[in-house]
Symmetry: C2
Subunit: 393 residues, 2 copies
């Protein structure tokens, strides 16, 4: 019998990498409901619910607040291609892997991209972005990553938005690793465009990308001289399906939308503030354990994300071996470094469902076992007990 | 309590529209399995299974045979943007709504598009395509819809492929409403590019688009002078994730891939030939019933699809009212017409799981009740008993 005909039986893992994270069983249950048609009045009600809840989570009144029918990278592309036309200038803040991806997509959209780099592990520098903006006559958009998944760094979204607007540029903000885990406040920031993913702090599987476009962005889009290069991601078509027009565009991924509705319900039942505190609290416990084990965090202290925690790999430790042992011996996934920090850092995500004490204690305990196997002498229980002490305090 | 916080409780419908169709419970069950990471070796094995089975279903050995992480329209866009560069010429056969969509996406990709129209309800005319090709010095691609979802028509894919190749053009074939329901034979046709959807004859939810690119298409792609305008849909990046390189591109929609693996298993357990016969058989029964009720099929007889059946709406009947009654009183969804045939035809999909006797008898019986309510005098049971007689014969 060919392998593909074998019964489906995936192992159960604790997903503490950069996402996906483990999904609330209620979300999986919702996804297994029988399907409705994509224009069924009952499905249209579900779409309205999703849109209403996404507005709460993004803290916005933006009309165009919808899930793109693709993963976070499709949302990134949607954010860019809708506002950028060939010949435009874009300024992109880059302090990690995903900032660089924005720049690449901007170039593929015909923009001239000015890259403003910051060291990986540090936040973006608003002053440097301001200096770059001064060099150009007209910048269409400034793009930045609020929460860099590759380094675990938070950058100042509100401050950078104000700078972009002072130069009459839109701001595009990647909130893939922040939305639902740390505060994203589109209207308070006065930000224009944002995109996220469902598989991180929203506690759903990957496959949808919540996006929001504010009034300035809508005005830029309606004044375009050329059509949006992507038909699939064109918000002027998408909004006709998601608004009361209900004009057919593409067939929505019904089951994923079911899951997102349930995931957003779970988020709102907990409450955003409670959720943000929980993410901070468990990340603090993880850091206590890591430091007790004699290791160092990578991201700059005042800008560390609670959702994605980066740790310097100790000298003499084999990165790949550690992660493989964690996965195969302990059923725990953590992430390795990307690009210039490959082999130098580990990334431990504590996102959505997985921001909890059991996950923190399990990963610290397993990491200690694996490191000891590699000859890093640690007193057994050091990390986990430091975390336990933090929780008890 | 706001409506969005209410418990999730969608109604159960028989989905006999143009898709989605009802999904095998095994597929929904697979989708509710706990998630793996997108680079977990166990998930990579699942990707291999999906790729192997897609090759069987497309009847191809093509290396690039993968599901795009978006719906069928994303697959359409992927098929076009990977091979088309600004300034290229494309010839598009149009005999319905989806042929026109191809032309629109071609234009957004920078192509000059020559539209070769056929009447809605008729197949594409290979001679007319050949005449058009003769007018151009160099055509990059000919695109066609194998199974037009808007009209229920099958067009001659193998013949049109040969014509395209005689003019040194690639052929791009939309198999959204054929793959898994009627034969698609990429290698036998010698075709270059195809895309499909999961929510029709493959019996999965919408959200993924299986695509395949053959050697001629790969060669065109590797000789491009400009980057593919879409980063998300760029097959030269996607193939590095789906091949043994396993290079991270985007986060795959894990649960949807689980569902597709199970859906393809169901397809292969039945066997493609059995599946094609089943689709023909149930569509024949439906037609017997429709004709017994005094109604006429819309699509030209020798080119009718068994997967999507189009019926002329009788004089004096209110299209919207009929479909609304079917949905709300009988929990059956059928499709209305699009574009020039809006209000003139109904579309009854018998795809995947839903190509069965119960669906045929239920829709005929319910349609008769609803038509009688509108004053179309029919002897009760005419349609359903004609279908029953066909099944008994």
């Amino acid at each position: 019998m060919p392998k593909y005909l074998e019964e489906f039986n995936p192992p159960i893992r604790l997903l503490l990498g950069p996402g996906p994270s483990n999904v609330n069983p209620r979300v999986l249950q919702a996804m297994s409901a029988p399907l409705l048609g994509h224009l069924d009045p009952d499905f249209l009600d579900i779409m309205d619910d999703v849109r209403d809840m996404l507005r709460i989570v993004f803290k916005t009144k933006n009309e165009i607040t919808i899930p793109i029918s693709g993963t976070g990278s499709a949302g990134m592309e949607a954010a860019i291609v809708n506002v950028i036309e060939p010949g435009d200038t874009m300024v992109v803040g880059i302090n990690g892997y995903f900032g660089d991806r924005i720049a690449q997509i901007g170039e593929r959209s015909g923009a001239t991209v000015a890259r403003v780099n910051a060291e990986w592990g540090l936040p973006l520098d608003p002053d440097k972005l301001n200096e770059e903006l001064k060099k150009h006559k007209r910048v269409k958009a400034v793009a930045m990553v609020h929460a860099e998944t590759s380094t675990g760094i938070r950058s100042p979204a509100k401050e950078i938005t104000a700078i972009a607007h002072a130069h009459d540029a839109l701001v595009i903000i990647d909130t893939v690793t922040s939305l639902g885990g740390i505060e994203v406040a589109m209207d308070d920031w006065d930000a224009d465009v944002s995109y996220s993913g469902t598989q991180k702090c929203l506690g759903c599987p990957p496959g949808l990308s919540p996006v929001t476009f504010g009034p300035r962005a809508e005005s830029v889009i309606s004044n375009r001289k050329t059509p949006v290069q992507s038909w699939y991601l064109d918000t002027s078509l998408l909004k006709n399906y998601w608004s009361q027009n209900r004009a057919y565009h593409h067939t929505a991924p019904i089951s994923m939308i079911y899951g997102l509705r349930e995931g957003l319900r779970v988020v709102l039942e907990e409450g955003l503030d409670n959720r943000f505190s929980r993410h901070e609290y468990n990340a603090a416990a993880l850091r206590k354990g890591i430091e007790a084990m004699g290791m160092e965090m990578f991201a700059q202290e005042d800008s560390r994300l609670p959702t994605l925690n980066t740790i310097r790999i100790p000298e003499g430790i084999d990165d790949a071996k550690v992660r493989r042992s964690l996965l195969t011996e302990h059923n725990i996934e953590i992430g390795g470094g990307l690009g210039p920090v490959a082999g130098k850092i580990w990334r431990i995500g504590l996102m959505g469902e997985n921001s909890n004490k059991e996950a923190v204690v399990s990963v610290l305990s397993a990491l200690e076992v694996v490191l000891n196997e590699q000859g890093a002498e640690m007193t057994p229980g050091t990390g986990a007990s430091a975390a336990e002490a933090f929780y008890a305090s």
